[in-house]
Each structure stands twice: as C-alpha cells, then as structure tokens.
C-alpha cells in the first residue's frame, strides 16, 4: 500500500502511544491523531492527585511538547470530533466538516464519566472528573469548599477525597456497594483503605445511595441519601465509573459489548480496524472472559501492540495488567486482575501500613495488591508474566524469599 493513512480516533494516552510507536516502528504512511479536547495530549492520572493540589502544573502534564508532533510528522487534529465512520468507503467525517480517507483505523476513543441519574445532578457545584478542563474547575472549586460529598468510592473518588480532606474540607464519601474499590480490589485492601480514610478525617457511608441533590438558587447545598439523611454539601464530585465511547463503532456496524469488541490482536476482525485503551473489550489470559481496563499500562501496551501490527509484526496482546492509586501517603499498586479470586492471603501486617494481598483462584496466583510495598509489586509483575508457581502458603510466609522464588523460575 503506497503511503497508507492511519487514523487514530482519540488523543489520550492510548491514541498518543499508537502514533508515537508507529513512527518508531518505521511506519512511513500518514498518521492522523484526532482528539476532541482543545489541548495537546496529556496525562490523566495526576488530575485526581498532584494536579489538584498544585504540586503538578499544567506544563508537566503534556505527554510531549507541541514540536514533537511536527518533528514526528504526526498530524494532530485537536478540538475536533469525529461524527461518522464509513467502513466500506474507508472515510470519516469531523464536526468541522473535514473528511478523511483512511487505510487503518484505531479507536482510542476512551470513556466518559457515568452520570448520576438523580434530580439535582445539574446543579452548580456538582462535578465529574475526567478531563483537564474538569480538573481546572475542580481545583478552583476546592479552594472555597467546606462541605464536600464524594459519590462513589473508586480510585478517582478516593484519591480526590484524600486531597480534599488534606485541604481541610469536611469530606463525606458515599458508596452504594458495601466496599470501596470493590470492583478491583480484595476485601482486606478495601477494608484497609476505608479505615485509612476515616483516620484521615473523612466520613464514609457504605451501602448508601443518593436519591437527590438539593440546591439553593441553582447552587448545590446538600445530598439526600437512600437512608434518609441530608448531607450538607457545597461541592459534590460524582465518580461512579465510566461509559466507554463506543457509539461511533456501533454506528459503523462493529460489535459493542461494554466496549468495542476486539480479538486477541485488538482488531475488530478485519486487520485494518483496531480498538485499544478504555474503549476496548478484549480477551486476556489474566481473566476469564473479556475485560475492559481503564489504566495507563493498558493504554500504552495496547498502543504499542497495534503499532507493531500495522508495521507488519502482529503479536497477540498478553501483557500483565498493572494499576496504581495514590491516596494520602498510601501507594496502592496492583499487578494482575484480582477480581473473582477465591483466596486472599495477606503478607505483612496491615497495621504497619506496608503489606500485600496475594489473590489466588484454583490454587493459582492471579493478582497482587501492594500497599507501600513496591518490592512485592515488582515480584508480582514478574511472576504473573510467566507461570507463577507460588502457593498460598509461600505467599503468606514472610520468611519465604519471593525474589529467590522469582529468580529460580527465571533460570529454569
């Protein structure tokens, strides 16, 4: 194909990575990277952490400076949105009226915050956090906030809560399930973080939903809970998960099931169209069935995988998933996917604030959650990349040398 065109829909971490890796792989066609936000591609993780506190400023967020795109001959179109994808004709259209022919198409369209379907969610002072623009407003609002309600105790909600409480606000975390981060971590880790947030000064209401948000002159003033309480609020952050941006793919006739359905090569079945990052539902050896992961690691490794495929070196996507979350002075690191584990073995004493939870299923290690214990996390990533051969007894025995175990596997 002379001068093929690769169109990348979405200029987040995943889309950026495809573009950057394509050039490194020697792709000599045109690369068009299309993002709907009116700014250069940037890192999202700090938005709920160091960026809110002001430790990180906006110039530290850019993935690369503006000159990078020109130098690498990446056509970056930002502040524009793709409105339709024509698969048979291999064309796409943008809001601006621009139309583009493509030979390869990569959906890296990410996800958006799931709205809370209750009355009052539109009031001023009720916010969600996904984009840099969201974070800029939230940062301002946090300055004057006294009573903060966080709806949803996932990573983002808890990270934000730890920032808000450190700023001196009264923080109330409201979670509809019975445990924080319940979708992604084991019970011992959940419990540890619940207690940590309470110790830092937050109130935590679990098993509690929101029935409506109350305002005064269009400004939020409180939140009504399913158990009939009225919590005062001048700032409410709704963080109850995301919805993958898969509508364009669906309209183009592609299969969608909690994300754009792709195969083990991240392709939709025809080798010209791929989906990666937050918007992709893919099969993985690290879970039973398909998963859709929202993480930097997933975005980067999938971006590289697709770039290699387009450069003529397709390989099945089988990278070990990893995640992290910073809450107060606690760093949570997760290797693998611990969802659905049968056995959770704690290594180390949670009271020391340095411990790991090793999760097993059918006697096999499937994931490890580490709190302030980076060496365990490093070991876990190595173990999960091969056959871990670690027993629950070994995991729980602090005198058993995990590094030696890992080395012995590597030398086998």
């Amino acid at each position: 194909m002379p001068n093929p065109v690769a169109a990348i829909l979405g200029a987040g971490q995943a889309g950026f990575q495809v573009a950057a890796s394509l050039r490194q792989e020697g792709f000599d066609g045109r690369i068009v990277l299309i993002g709907d936000e009116a700014v250069l591609p940037y890192q999202r993780p700090p938005l709920s952490k160091a960026y809110l506190t002001g430790q990180t400023e906006v110039d530290d967020l850019w993935l690369r400076p503006a000159e990078f795109y020109a130098k690498q001959q990446i056509d970056l179109i930002y502040g524009d949105t793709v409105t339709s994808v024509d698969r048979p004709e291999r064309r796409l259209r943008l809001t601006s009226g621009l139309a583009l022919s493509w030979d390869y198409l990569v959906f890296a369209s990410g996800a958006r915050c799931r709205p809370l379907p209750v009355p009052g969610a539109e009031l001023d002072g009720v916010m969600m956090l996904r984009t840099l623009a969201d974070a800029d407003i939230l940062r301002q609002r946090l300055d004057g906030a006294r009573e903060v309600v966080v709806v949803g105790a996932g990573f983002i909600g808890l990270e934000f809560a730890s920032v808000a409480v450190a700023r001196g606000a009264n923080v109330h975390i409201v979670e509809v399930t019975h445990r924080p981060m319940g979708r992604v971590v084991s019970e011992p880790t959940s419990r540890f973080f619940t207690e940590a947030h309470i110790r830092w000064g937050a109130k935590v209401s679990l098993g509690t939903g929101i029935t409506r948000i109350i305002g005064h002159h269009d400004r939020v003033s409180g939140v009504e809970t399913t158990d009939g309480r009225l919590l005062p609020a001048d700032l409410v952050l709704i963080c109850i998960g995301v919805i993958p941006n898969s509508e364009l793919a669906h309209e183009a006739g592609l299969a969608v099931d909690n994300g754009i359905v792709v195969d083990g090569y991240l392709s939709v079945g025809e080798l010209a169209i791929f989906a990666i990052g937050d918007c992709a539902s893919f099969p993985t050896p690290f879970a039973s069935g398909r998963v859709r992961l929202e993480s930097v690691q997933n975005a980067l490794d999938q971006g590289r995988c697709v770039a290699a495929a387009l450069a003529g070196r397709p390989e099945a996507y089988e990278k070990v998933p990893w995640f992290w979350s910073d809450q107060g002075d606690l760093k949570l690191q997760i290797a693998g996917i611990t969802t659905g584990h049968a056995e959770a073995i704690t290594r180390g004493d949670p009271d020391s604030r340095q411990f790991s939870v090793f999760c097993f299923k059918g006697g096999r290690l499937i994931g490890v959650e580490s709190v302030n214990r980076p060496a365990d996390h490093a070991v876990a990533r190595r173990l999960l990349a091969g056959d871990p051969r670690l027993s629950p007894e070994q995991a729980g025995d602090e005198s058993y040398d995990l590094r030696a175990h890992t080395r012995s596997l590597a030398s086998r």
Binding site: P65, E67, L300, W324, D326, P374, A378, R381
Partner: protein, 107 residues
C-alpha cells in the same frame, strides 16, 4: 540553573539547563530528547526513564527510595550500579554538571 548533559548511545550529547525542582526526566521530555520515554509520568510505576549516572557523580545524587529500587528491576537495558530513574533526579544546585548516559532502549 543546573546544567545536565545527556549522552546518547551513539555518543551525541545534549546539554540542558534544568530549572531547580524539575526532574532530569521532565526536562528531557519537555526538550524532546529521544531516549527518555517516561510512561508513568514520574510515579515510579515503570522504568522507562532509566539513565546511567556518571560513576564519579553518584554520590551527588539523592538516595534511592524503595520504590525506585523495585522499579529498577524492570529496566529494558541492563541494570548497572549507576542505574537511576531520571524522574527521581530532581535538579538541585548539587546536580549542576550532572552527566547521564541514555540506555540503548527503554521498552
């Protein structure tokens, strides 16, 4: 402003003025120095900002944290005694004149 020299595997050198408080990693990214990837943005979750510090300058660099030691196990190029994550080398007056060698590959 501390000057930091980045030596590429082919011997080419880039010299940057790194503002106090800015990491050797961030300065490289901002200035488009190839050879520093910095996937996690300085969170010590990856090892793609790996550098080799000029051996006789090691004692001028800050001590390694447990996080950094753990992640240095994941360097794509060989880990050596003078291996560091450049996100942890934050410019101070003591680092003026620092020389770091970029590895063959980061991923």
């Amino acid at each position: 402003m501390p000057k930091v020299t980045y030596v590429h595997p082919n011997g080419a050198r880039d010299v940057l003025d790194v503002p106090l408080g800015t990491s050797v990693m961030r300065a490289a990214i901002i200035n488009g120095i190839d050879g520093i990837v910095a996937e996690c943005g300085g969170e010590m979750m990856c090892a793609t900002c790996h550098v080799y510090v000029e051996a006789d300058q090691l004692d001028r660099t800050p001590a390694q944290s447990d996080d950094e030691k753990a992640m240095l196990e994941f360097t794509a190029s060989e880990r050596k005694p003078n291996s560091r994550l450049s996100c942890q080398l934050v410019a101070t007056p003591e680092l003026d004149g620092l020389v770091v060698y970029l590895p063959e590959t980061q991923v």
